[in-house]
């Protein structure tokens, strides 16, 4: 299974919430990421997320999209890490960033 943010969602994703602008992380998580993730978990498949081809992925967009899976949708941290893999040739730093946001969200939820 695969999601390419630039084509399956938007080439210009914005910030966190719908009120902040078009194509925020909240909308991406609810409409694209979570349904595919649930499907992948159910089918015991890997979900590959392609981060290339966008105008930039801001901190809020990434935190809300991925951290929100733990904070709002109660998906377990380890399940996300086992299911999701990333393609990020344009900027490999995004992967480390997302892993950090997942960790931060998990720590906040468990404290």
């Amino acid at each position: 299974m695969k999601i390419k943010i630039a084509t399956d969602f938007s080439r210009i994703p914005c910030a966190r919430f719908i009120s902040e602008g078009d194509f925020p992380g909240e909308e991406f998580r609810e409409k694209v990421l979570l349904p595919k993730l649930k499907d992948a978990i159910q089918k015991k498949e890997k979900l590959e997320i392609d981060l290339d081809g966008t105008a930039g992925l801001g901190t809020s967009f990434l935190e809300e999209s991925f951290g929100g899976l733990i904070r709002i949708d109660n998906v377990e941290h380890s399940v996300i890490l086992d299911t999701i893999s990333f393609i990020s040739n344009d900027d490999p730093d995004y992967v480390a960033e997302i892993i950090e946001y997942l960790k931060e969200a998990d720590e906040k939820e468990n404290n």
Binding site: C14, A55, E63, E64, D91
Partner: protein, 199 residues
Amino acid sequence: MKKKIIKALILIIIFSLGATFGKLLNWGYFELSKELSIVDALTLFTTLGVAIYITQTLEKEVQDSRIEKELFISKISEIEIILNRIEDLVEDTDCSYNKINNRIHSCRKIKNGIFESIDDNFDNSVSARLKKFEPSISLGINSLKRLLTETPITQTATHEITLTNGLANYSLNRILEINVVINTIKEKLFKLKVNINSL
């Protein structure tokens, strides 16, 4: 056509004057020998070989290395230009969040490109020396990204960033924080430039 005729006339006049003075003053002249000793021949060919080697190989190497250094330095300057633009953008009220997002994205892409090329183009010792700058520059750019693009999860009384309909407003404190981080990154970039220039 007229110019060519004038030039030819000037050449003839100069040659005639030279020949006349030479005859009048009876200056000495060179005698060209048809014989050449083996030592002289070897010296001549060695000198020719060295001259060709210097012009063709060494000069080219020096020029290539200079061009390579200039390319790296101009790439680093591109990051500095983007940082300056970010500095200007955050000062504005209602600046485009997507524009800022795109600028910081470009910064990171260029930075990654520079350090990948350092790996590919320099030998191990030089590459290791230059790559020492990567962690601090990456850390700076990542901190800057967070300061620029992280909006709060919950709304608080004091807003460092307010974002509505894609337009961002930064508090004075946040602008100062951003400027401090930008200046730190610029210092690191300058040191990297100096190091590349001194190679």
